[in-house]
Amino acid sequence: PLGKDHQHQFQMLEASSYHMPLPSDSERMRQFLPRNPFPTPHYYPQN
């Protein structure tokens, strides 16, 4: 029979299996266009 600590490990593993890593989590974000910094209106999203 699995010990108590194994049950805990299984619960934590199971919980994290509901938000598995995605391939993109391991990939750099790709910029496909060059950056052209520009002062945009303050009411536009800034990040």
Partner: protein, 195 residues
């Protein structure tokens, strides 16, 4: 013969269970390992394009880091002496903003904050009768065929389409719209007008 699970009877039981409850014997019988998304007959190494433990196949070509000559980098600027000399970015084909679908314009608007692309995409959305609400910080347009139920000199009320960047789709909504809260035509810097 050996009467417990450590003899041939044990193996026989395992073979019979394999037919009825494969999950129980997955560990022993195992998988067809050629069906795990790896080309095991490849002559080249697999690791350079390995898509990770749960990837369905190799990673996409654009995800693999290659050391390209500095000159090829469109984002970085070359440093000659002190001033920055831009690299091949001028040689890239110019953007054809008017040809892009609304969704791509919204993508450029929301992901290129602080960049001239944000303004260029806003100007094109304006041309397409979208208007940016400066307080709600959201794009809005009339729902086709639906007129305002109430109109005043500086306001109107009715059903409009909002572009929701969270669910990434157009959402119809009742709204009391004050004209002065809408942004005028975004000012595109002259050097980009040709775009």
């Amino acid at each position: 013969m050996v009467g417990d699970q450590f003899g041939m009877v044990g193996l026989l039981t395992f073979i019979r269970v394999a037919e009825t409850d494969p999950n129980l014997v997955t560990l022993a019988l195992g998988f067809d390992l050629t069906a795990l998304g790896l080309n095991l007959n490849a002559t080249d190494s697999l690791y350079p394009s390995f898509g990770g433990p749960w990837g369905e196949g190799p990673v996409r070509a654009e995800d693999i880091e290659y050391q390209v000559p500095q000159e090829y980098n469109i984002s970085d600027q070359l440093r000659h002496g002190q001033e920055f000399v831009s690299s091949i970015r001028e040689k890239l084909s110019p953007l054809k903003i008017p040809r892009y679908k609304d969704e791509l314009l919204f993508y450029l608007f929301y992901t290129y904050a602080g960049d001239v692309l944000q303004v260029l995409s806003a100007a094109e959305l304006y041309n397409r009768d979208w208007r940016y609400h400066k307080e709600e910080k959201i794009w809005i347009t009339r729902a086709p065929g639906i007129n305002a139920v109430e109109k005043g000199t500086n306001f109107e009320r009715g059903t409009y389409y909002f572009f929701d960047p969270i669910s990434w789709r157009k959402v119809a909504k009742e709204f009391y719209l004050e004209y002065d809260k809408l942004e005028d035509r975004p000012v595109v810097p002259p050097s980009y007008i040709h775009n």
